[in-house]
């Protein structure tokens, strides 16, 4: 589909300082992927603070224990290299956690001093063959290159490259959802099960980062994608890889599977809203030959029914969306089909290709006056938002200061949600996710209208 170029794009800010960044560092994304693999411990090769900060940040959103080991660099390690520490750390993780895998992501310190991690891991395995049942995954995630989303996808590629082997053809679809909520993962799994499709979801932190209360301590959270399933990914009928900006990139995990094992890559947007979810199902139908299962068709029908019920409340409203590029594109597509005008779309990622993707999904939408910011921080976003007349903000809790200042309601989506309970259970995907997003959206508008009215009707 060829889309017209977007009319308005803000110039890249020339500022030297990041003021309230709208991105996190690459190792965080890698840790999320490793958390979604069964019996896998994330391990950061760097200073203790990196692991601790990231743990705290993830814990505040998911409200689950998140164990991330660290090689705890000292001054001496920084000068002479951290090999000894990394090996000792791996030994300790093995003896404490008995994991099947350890995901070793580097930090900027390890990268800057030029640690040869693959060599260290190989020599560790050679030195300690008997006590290394754990497979070691390595991913380079210096935080001076890219964002947490780049770290996420780099880890995806590392995992798949390391484990996926030439495998007999089977009927299990590979599904790479990107960085979505545990609720979204559950939603995707339910959708595929309802359609009778067998699949391997990677990563799958639906349980590991949103599990039940325990009677005894589990060093490793139950759940996650089994390594054995990842090993067989080379024999899958296709890989569905979600995220429109990701689709334009050649070096993804799905692209690697296509190149090395001939598994067709089906690159789709995040199924947010009606049209993107319809596309998801259309591709699934192409693969399986089966249409939408009746229960889901009902969900779809109810969604459309509710869009009709609520359309007038939202039509012509103006929204700002900020966050990870693929989420912003998905939400923009959804708002477009509701008649809500995306007035500002912003991401912290640079060169993500978000602008082109927005042009695609908003081809039928009036985008006059749309401001697109890439490589933006929250200060820049807030400054632009102030100039626009906005009715709604969609994004993480980090937009709250802006919402408060502008007196515009914030609908919390994506990551991180640090100021509300249940960030891990926010649904974005599928018809059901769209339903809940739509209800929240309409009710946010109604609530703000009600609160700001002098009459205060209890019947709207």
């Amino acid at each position: 589909m060829k889309a017209p170029p977007l009319p308005a794009t803000a110039p890249e800010s020339g500022a030297a300082a990041a003021r309230n960044a709208c991105k996190l560092c690459a190792p965080l994304g890698a840790c999320v992927v490793f958390s979604g693999i069964e019996s896998c411990v994330p391990f950061l090769h760097g200073s203790q603070g990196c692991a601790t900060y990231i743990r705290r940040y993830l814990i505040s959103h998911f409200r689950e224990p998140v164990d991330i080991a660290s090689s705890s660099f000292s001054e001496e390690d920084t000068v002479f290299g951290g090999a000894r520490n990394l090996k000792a750390g791996l030994r300790n993780v093995v003896s404490q956690y008995h994991p099947e895998a350890i995901g070793v992501a580097t930090t900027c310190l390890a990268e800057t001093i030029g640690e040869d991690v693959p060599r260290i891991l190989a020599s560790y395995q050679a030195e300690t063959p008997s006590e290394t049942p754990a497979s070691l995954i390595h991913v380079a995630t210096p935080s001076y290159a890219g964002t947490h989303i780049d770290g996420f996808h780099a880890a995806m590629l590392s995992v798949v490259r390391q484990f996926a082997q030439a495998s007999e053809r089977h009927a299990r679809l590979n599904l790479f959802p990107g960085f979505v909520s545990p609720e979204d993962l559950r939603q995707l799994k339910e959708m595929l099960r309802a359609a009778g499709v067998d699949f391997t979801l990677l990563p799958d932190y639906s349980q590991t980062l949103d599990g039940r209360t325990w009677s005894e301590y589990h060093r490793l959270q139950p759940g996650g994608t089994p390594l054995e399933s990842i090993r067989q990914m080379g024999g899958a009928p296709a890989t569905f890889e979600l995220g429109r900006t990701l689709a334009a990139k050649p070096g993804t995990a799905a692209a690697w599977l296509a190149r090395e094992h001939g598994v067709p890559r089906v690159a789709l947007g995040l199924p947010i809203g009606l049209r993107e979810t319809d596309r998801f199902w259309a591709e699934l139908e192409r693969l399986t030959g089966h249409g939408l299962p009746p229960a889901l068709d009902d969900e779809r029908g109810r969604l459309i029914d509710s869009l009709v019920d609520g359309h007038k409340y939202v039509f012509g409203k103006r929204a700002a969306i900020f966050g990870d590029p693929d989420l912003v594109v998905g939400l923009a597509s959804f708002l477009g089909e509701l008649g809500v005008q995306p007035a500002l779309c912003a991401t912290g990622s640079k060169n993500s290709g978000m602008k082109n993707c927005l042009a695609e999904v908003l081809a039928d939408t009036d985008t006059s006056g749309l401001v697109v910011l890439e490589g933006a921080d929250h200060a820049a976003i807030a400054e632009r938002a102030k100039e626009l007349r906005l009715d709604l903000l969609l994004g993480s809790s980090k937009g709250y200061p802006m919402a408060r200042e502008l007196k515009v309601p914030l609908i919390r989506v994506g990551f991180p949600i640090h100021d509300r309970l249940g960030g891990q259970r926010v649904p974005h995907l599928g018809y059901r996710g769209a339903q809940q997003l739509f209800d929240r959206l309409v009710n946010t508008i109604l609530e703000s209208r009600q609160d700001n009215s002098s009459t205060g009707y209890s019947y709207l």
Binding site: Q48, R56, I59, N92, E216
Partner: protein, 478 residues
């Protein structure tokens, strides 16, 4: 039975009656791979200086370090809010290769022009030392250009634990001290060090001293101001609360300005009263002492009836605590005792040998004492000691909750003041609200019964468990 990492065993002891017991090993570097609850030197520096509200705080390095502490703390300011932003040079690959000095220079100019801060702190992150940026030179240049103090903080994460960072922060803050007139500072004056005004705690404490007739020159760094720091050397006494973070600054003030220091704590009734009396006695003024007595008896009288009600409910419950510094741990053990609770596990991230000796003295027999613990150990002891409550920070919260244990946040992110007499009331309400919650009856560890099983089948109703897809409706009717 959960096994421990052998190297960690020396950092765990159990108090046994009458015996001195083995010395607890501490002041060690974290064991690699043990998922320490500690952070790094950068984190330590950032924690200490963060509440200085009219200073610019810029993190020189890639984005991670800055973004993870954007507005995460409950450190309130009565005026400027500049400290609640996250500023970073957001170093990119090219700058890592060719150096980040230029970017730092430009960033500082930009931010100082825009926000007009009273001073700027420049935090070095891990790679800054490695790529060889001359941060000091850049700071000197900008200070000259802009006419404000631009202070480098040697906070590279790998330099050590938070303690190392505390030292670096104290050194940095000390650069401001002594640069402003001490006019108007009376003989009955003090500084409060190591209170960070979490949820307004510095204000509570300040009110007490004002009522006593004691002048508070600077609260360092809670609700902190650059100008207060610059003249704090005029105070006659330093009260040091978070001793781990601020003792170094107090020692510098003692060495160069002859200001004596006292270690105090404002957590719990006992320790708050002791702190106020300590100051009153220091000034040796009869009127101050009298006002202090009146204040203490009035405030204790005000909170006691409600505390007594909680005590009735909480008596005999068991608590575990794992906090940053040891002085807070002492106060908590005493505060819990006041509520009738027993501390069965006490640990800190960065206590020293002397601290642990004292902790052992005030704890009951059987109490487990740990240094630089990790999730596996904390969980092990929570279960083995069967605790009802865990006091810690946000990293410990999910461990407690996962095991169905009540939790009280006693760290910098909380939004509830726990210091002073009224703080003790908040503390008791927090503890009561978590320990007495009815939700624990449902968690596996405490569940008296499992989910009720179905009673006898209704009438003659027969059903087969569903197997896969439902049968077509015609078939079911046939």
């Amino acid at each position: 039975m959960i096994r421990l990492i052998p190297e960690r065993e020396a950092q765990i002891v159990r108090k046994q009656s009458g015996q001195p017991g083995p010395k607890l090993a501490c002041d060690r570097k974290s064991v690699s791979g043990s998922v320490s609850q500690r952070a790094c030197a950068f984190c330590g520096s950032r924690v200490v200086l963060y509440p200085i509200a009219d200073a610019l705080h810029i993190v020189h390095g890639p984005i991670g370090c800055a973004v993870y502490n954007w507005d995460i703390r409950g450190a309130l300011s009565s005026g400027p809010q500049l400290h609640r932003n996250s500023f970073s040079t957001d170093l990119q690959e090219m700058e890592v290769i060719y150096g980040g000095e230029k970017k730092l220079l430009q960033a500082l100019r930009e931010l100082i022009d825009r926000y007009q801060p009273k001073a700027a702190f420049v935090y070095s992150t891990c790679i800054v030392g490695v790529i060889g940026d001359d941060v000091n030179a850049v700071c000197r240049q900008v200070a000259k250009e802009k006419g404000i103090a631009v202070i480098p903080v040697a906070s590279e994460g790998f330099r050590g634990t938070k303690k190392t960072g505390y030292m670096a922060a104290c050194e940095a803050a000390y650069q401001l001290v002594g640069t402003r007139s001490t006019e108007g500072i009376g003989p009955h004056s003090l500084n409060i060090l190591g209170d960070f005004n979490i949820a307004g705690e510095s204000w509570i404490i300040r009110r007490y001293f004002e009522e006593m007739g004691v002048q508070v020159v600077a609260t360092i760094t809670g609700d902190g101001r650059v100008d207060d720091l610059r003249r704090c050397h005029g105070a006659k006494l330093n009260l040091v609360q978070c001793s781990g973070s601020m003792t170094h600054l107090a020692k510098l003030l003692e060495r160069d300005h002859g200001i004596p220091m006292r270690r105090v704590s404002f957590f719990g009734l006992e320790d708050t009263a002791a702190a106020l009396y300590e100051a009153a006695k220091f000034f040796g003024d009869a009127e101050i002492l009298q006002r202090t007595q009146a204040l203490v008896s009035r405030e204790v009288g005000r909170v006691y009836p409600e505390l007594a009600r909680y005590r009735e409910k909480l008596a005999g419950k068991k608590a575990a605590l794992y906090v940053g510094g040891a002085f807070k741990a002492f106060s908590l053990v005493k505060a819990l005792k006041l509520l009738g609770m027993q501390t069965v596990l006490a640990g800190t991230q960065t206590g020293n040998a002397e601290d642990y000796e004292l902790l052992r003295e005030i704890c009951d027999d059987g109490t487990v004492i740990v240094d630089d613990s990790n999730p596996v150990e904390l969980a092990k002891f929570m279960l083995e000691l069967d605790v009802d409550l865990f006091i810690g920070g946000v990293k410990e919260r999910p461990i407690a909750y996962k095991l169905g244990v009540g939790f009280c946040d006693h760290n910098h992110e909380r939004k509830i003041p726990l210091a002073g007499f009224e703080g003790m009331l908040h503390f008791a309400r927090e503890i009561h609200g978590t320990v007495m919650s009815p939700v624990w009856q449902f968690v596996p560890r405490r569940a008296k019964t499992t989910r009720p099983t179905a009673p006898a089948p209704l009438g003659n109703f027969q059903s087969e468990p569903p197997t896969g897809a439902p049968a077509p409706i015609e078939e079911a009717l046939a």
